[in-house]
């Protein structure tokens, strides 16, 4: 399993635990005293789960399992950039959303804008690197054999 994949997968495991931990905290509402900002944490819980855990794990598995690109370059720099953008974007959301929701337009609000931009850029990076790798591996080896015979 390549290093890039390991970083994606292990981070996704941490987000899974964080998401479910937040879920336990949310379930305490009405049973125990909880901080007021918890009222704005529900979207954070869902996105920790679906972006941090599920989507990040899928990204890591794609790098590992999908056929290599025809030209042989996996664009590792883009994969690392995607990893950093996704994680900084998501962590910014975790911090800024509960603070920004009651006060849009504050510094927290602008951090939320930055978080949105970073996560969107991560999706672009994933699409850019994955699109050419969703392909038949057979054609790849066939072309290589053909090239080897010609040269």
């Amino acid at each position: 399993m390549p290093t890039v994949t390991r970083w994606y997968l292990k981070s996704s495991f941490l987000y899974l635990l964080a998401a479910v931990g937040v879920g336990v905290w949310l379930a305490l509402r009405g049973l125990a005293p909880v901080p007021a900002f918890l009222a704005f944490v529900q979207p954070v819980y869902v996105h920790l789960f679906l972006v941090g855990w599920v989507t990040q794990l899928i990204f890591g598995v794609v790098y590992w399992l999908f056929p290599p690109p025809r030209e042989g370059d996996r664009h590792d720099a883009v994969w690392w950039a995607t990893f950093i953008l996704l994680n900084i974007g998501l962590l910014l959301r975790v911090v800024a959303e509960p603070a920004a929701t009651p006060r849009p337009g504050s510094v927290w609000g602008w951090l939320l804008v930055l978080s949105a931009l970073l996560q969107w850029a991560a999706a672009l990076g994933f699409a850019y690197t994955t699109w050419p790798r969703a392909r038949r591996r057979g054609r790849y080896s066939h072309e290589r054999r053909q090239q080897a015979e010609e040269s």
Partner: protein, 135 residues
Amino acid sequence: MPPLSIWYTRVATVHLLTGFTIGALMLANKGVAFAPWLWRLRPAHMELLLLGWLVQFAMGVAFWIVPRRWEQPRRGNVIGARIALVLLNAGVVLVVLGSLVQDLPALTAVGRLLELLAALAFVSHIWPRVVGREG
């Protein structure tokens, strides 16, 4: 990777991009309100990412990697998986349209029904392939 999985994963990637774009606009709008109407796109955002991205991508990868049979055709009868691709995407598009056009709630219901039929079609294909090495 078989051609059908290529279709599944590429279309799922398009849904991912569309869903993330809408999500990013909504999130930015939450931080600095510039277009309150963006909130109406929330059902479309959820549909594109839950069904269009996650379900579709999982189906594409499952069709590719779940064990194949020893004899031909190795993936068995693939008609269910082909039908599922068409029904799922038709369903997602209808639900998204239904969430945007307030006067036509039937669109959402029909779209959801198509998604359910897509899942049934896919399960009819994949269920017999969820087997051990012994087949």
